[in-house]
């Protein structure tokens, strides 16, 4: 039974800020950077010598964790002003909210006094998504939208063509024709793994383009509306009938494996997937893919907008050094170093317009560079949603409660994908959660 006390204790110690962890970086000038362990970030870690040589006396220490764990740790640390990290990796979900909470350092003064750090070079929608009251509170490392990858060779073999701007209805029909259980190839791969950053990201874009919304402008939860039901039924049926095996626990990386191993004919997901699809080191389908815009239904566009970026907690100790590092990792020169060291496929995409002017990159990314840019440009709430909503965000609801609400809704969704409950049951339960959240906002207004 003491173990339970320990469990509760451990949880709380974790939440209230791991007071001990900060001590590691205390001696001298060591920057502690909390970072998400995605491939592009690993490349940055591998290049840390470049920074340390250019800045003698400053050492870098990376705390690199998978997305969910990194997010939990970074959120807990920043919210409690724990001060363990000098630089944290956050997204456009956190940046504006945390800026409003006063948890992040305003980076505009730092940017303005850094000649050559061309902020006009950032893609506008990405820059705006990290801004609060006209100032940038995080600098983007890579940016993404979502699009549809498809296997040109399989389409050709089946005598099918991918329309340049497909609708979800068309995609569902194509998936039905391409589904080939005997060959071990599913029609499409769509995430079903629970998590607001997993299955709910692609699902929310489908919901948006079907005309659904999480809340109306008075914060009434709308998860049982006819549009939401239509979107959820469409998504669940598509995955259940022509999706990957094990769909209810498949996330971004599982679909990535399925696609690069040739086990699925289409894959709708983040634009960064293209780098892995075309990487000869791990992919069996290099050069066989076409990329088209995120499928739509009632809107002109439906891709999401997301960016992993670097922010500085207000309580960070070495702010000048921290800025030097943030500048290094998000500057034009960094793009060049990655391209020359690791190959141009691995350059962080979707952030700087200048990246798309590099001839080597244009060549390496010919298949997907333009669709990526188009997706990011088109990703805003005017084009990706039918009704106006009171929250920012496309594939997420930009309120703090969404981490929790989204995860709970996604659990219900994946239970429906697994066939354990009906879509209606899943949505009825989700609606209850959403109503509680919506009520707290109605009181506040």
């Amino acid at each position: 039974m003491r173990r339970f006390i320990l469990l509760a204790v451990a949880l709380l110690l974790g939440v209230t800020g791991c007071a001990g962890a900060g001590a590691i970086g205390a001696g001298g000038r060591t920057l502690v950077i909390a970072i998400v362990a995605n491939p592009q970030m690993k490349d940055a870690i591998a290049l840390k010598d470049h920074f340390e040589q250019a800045n003698p006396g400053v050492k870098l220490k990376f705390v690199s964790l998978p997305e969910n764990q990194a997010r939990a740790k970074i959120t807990a640390s920043t919210a409690t002003e724990g001060g363990e990290f000098d630089v944290v990796m956050i997204s456009n979900y956190e940046a504006p909210q945390w800026a409003a909470n006063g948890w992040l350092e305003n980076l505009s003064p730092y940017i303005d006094k850094s000649p050559g750090y061309d902020k006009a070079d950032f893609i506008p929608s990405i820059r705006d998504s990290l801004s609060h009251n006209g100032s940038m509170y995080a600098v983007p490392f890579y940016g993404e939208s979502s699009f549809l990858a498809y296997r040109k060779d399989l389409f050709e073999k089946a005598g099918l063509t991918m329309p340049p701007k497909p609708t979800w209805e068309q995609v569902a029909q194509l998936a039905a024709k391409l589904d080939d259980k005997a060959a071990g190839v599913s029609g499409i791969c769509l995430r079903g793994k629970p998590g607001w950053g997993e299955s709910l990201a692609p699902f929310s874009t489908v919901a948006n383009t079907f005309g659904a919304q999480y809340f109306d402008k008075d914060w009434n939860a709308k998860l049982t509306s006819p549009e939401f039901k239509a979107a959820a039924n469409f998504y669940v049926n598509l995955v259940r009938s022509h999706g990957e095996v094990g769909a209810s626990s498949a996330g971004f990386s599982d679909c990535g494996t399925a696609y690069t191993q040739g086990q699925t004919a289409m894959w709708y997901d983040a634009t960064v997937m293209a780098g892995t699809n075309e990487d000869p080191e791990g992919s069996k389908v290099v050069g066989k893919s076409g990329y088209v815009a995120a499928p739509v239904e009632k809107t002109q566009a439906s891709g999401w907008l997301y960016t992993w970026s670097l922010g500085m907690p207000k309580v960070a100790k070495n702010k000048e050094d921290a800025w030097k590092f943030m500048r290094w990792m998000t500057d034009k020169e960094f793009v060049q170093s990655v391209g020359k060291t690791f190959g141009w496929n691995r350059v962080p995409p979707g952030v700087r317009k200048s990246t798309y002017d590099i001839p080597e990159y244009r060549q390496a990314a010919a298949a997907y560079a333009q669709p990526t840019l188009d997706g990011i440009d088109a990703a805003n709430q005017q084009k990706t949603m039918v009704h106006p909503v009171p929250y920012p965000g496309i594939q997420f609801v930009g309120i703090p409660e969404f981490q929790d609400l989204g995860t709970r809704v996604s659990q219900q969704l994946s239970a429906a994908i697994a066939g354990q409950i009906s879509v209606d049951e899943a949505l009825a339960q989700s609606q209850e959660y959403a109503q509680t959240v919506g009520a707290s906002y109605r009181e506040g207004h």
Binding site: R2, R3, L12
Partner: protein
């Protein structure tokens, strides 16, 4: 590490200090002084945070909404009991613990009986049977997720055919299979120790009296083993009730909440919901419930201990 040593430390201290402390009360502080740092450390590390947890459980506090912190009395507790997911998680915990302990105990007994005989290569077989317990729980969970249950790469589908997605079709059963696999060796070791401590003369006497194998087993071996079985049950239950690795890595509590148990649910409330007040309240409730169950279990155990001790 602390989680491993904690139950082991606390269990004997309850029984021994009560008897041992009395004659020593007159003893000097000199003897106790060296123990004080350890005692203070233990209190600081276990009891103070628990008191803090109780304190937090009376507050409404969502970490990601600054300014939301205020005192709500027993509000969190009422919310927790009204939460159907919490009740579901509790039910899952009970089912998971009882089934896993029971099946691994039966399997452990069977393996122990086999290993108790002499045969060629017994050492190798014993090592192989113990291995699952030595594998890190996280590694074991991943192993089962990919090499056994995976719909495409898994051994189960390779052997039985079809493309069943075990983890989403039978989430709780799959998790339990992994936990049973992990804990059977532990049960087996404890029971084997019991079997090998069986007095040979008694067994010989039984065979001289003409008792068959079954009779010998039910009349002599099983009563002799009872204390080992009870110990295995208690220790196994203490650990299995806390199962986290398998659920976190194999099913993430899903699909839906089909395989969410209490530790995983509290983790979700604390680290995905950042709801400090509610997760603290759940922690406190779980501690209280476990204490009640453990007290009854311990009392029952000591009673049967006394009986079996008397028989001997």
């Amino acid at each position: 590490m602390s989680t491993l040593s904690a139950p082991a430390r606390s269990a004997p201290s309850k029984t021994s200090t009560g008897k041992a402390a009395k004659p020593r009360t007159s003893g000097s502080w000199k003897r106790r002084l060296p123990l004080m740092p350890a005692l203070i450390f233990t209190i600081a590390v276990t009891q103070l945070p628990f008191l803090l947890t109780v304190f937090y459980s009376f507050q409404s506090w969502n970490l990601v909404r600054p300014g939301s912190r205020h005192f709500v009395g027993f509000g969190n507790y009422l919310d927790v009991f009204a939460d159907s997911q919490f009740r579901g998680a509790m039910l899952n915990t009970v089912v998971l613990t009882i089934v896993c302990v029971f099946i691994s105990l039966v399997l452990g007994l069977a393996f122990a009986l086999l290993l108790d005989r002499k045969f060629l290569g017994r050492g190798v077989v014993r090592t192989l049977l113990i291995t699952p317990f030595l594998i890190l729980p996280a590694a074991g969970a991943l192993l089962w997720k990919t090499t056994m249950f995976h719909p495409r790469f898994g051994l189960l589908n390779f052997v039985f055919g079809g493309d069943t997605d075990w983890l989403s079709a039978f989430p709780l059963a799959s998790v339990m299979a992994q936990i049973i696999w992990q804990w059977t060796p532990f049960m087996m070791l404890l029971i084997l120790a019991g079997l090998q401590s069986q007095p040979k003369e008694v067994l010989e006497a039984a065979s001289v009296d003409g008792a068959g194998r079954v009779r010998t087993f039910t009349a002599i071996t099983l009563p002799h083993l009872s204390r080992y079985l009870q110990l295995a049950t208690l220790l196994g239950a203490i650990y299995i009730v806390n199962s986290f690795d398998a659920i976190f890595l194999m099913t993430q509590g899903g699909p839906g909440t089909a395989s969410t148990n209490l530790p995983y649910y509290i983790y979700q409330r604390a680290f995905e919901g950042f709801d400090i007040g509610q997760s603290s309240a759940m922690g406190v409730i779980v501690v209280i419930l476990t204490m009640i169950v453990a007290t009854f279990a311990l009392r029952l155990m000591f009673r049967t201990f006394a009986v079996s001790g008397g028989v001997k």
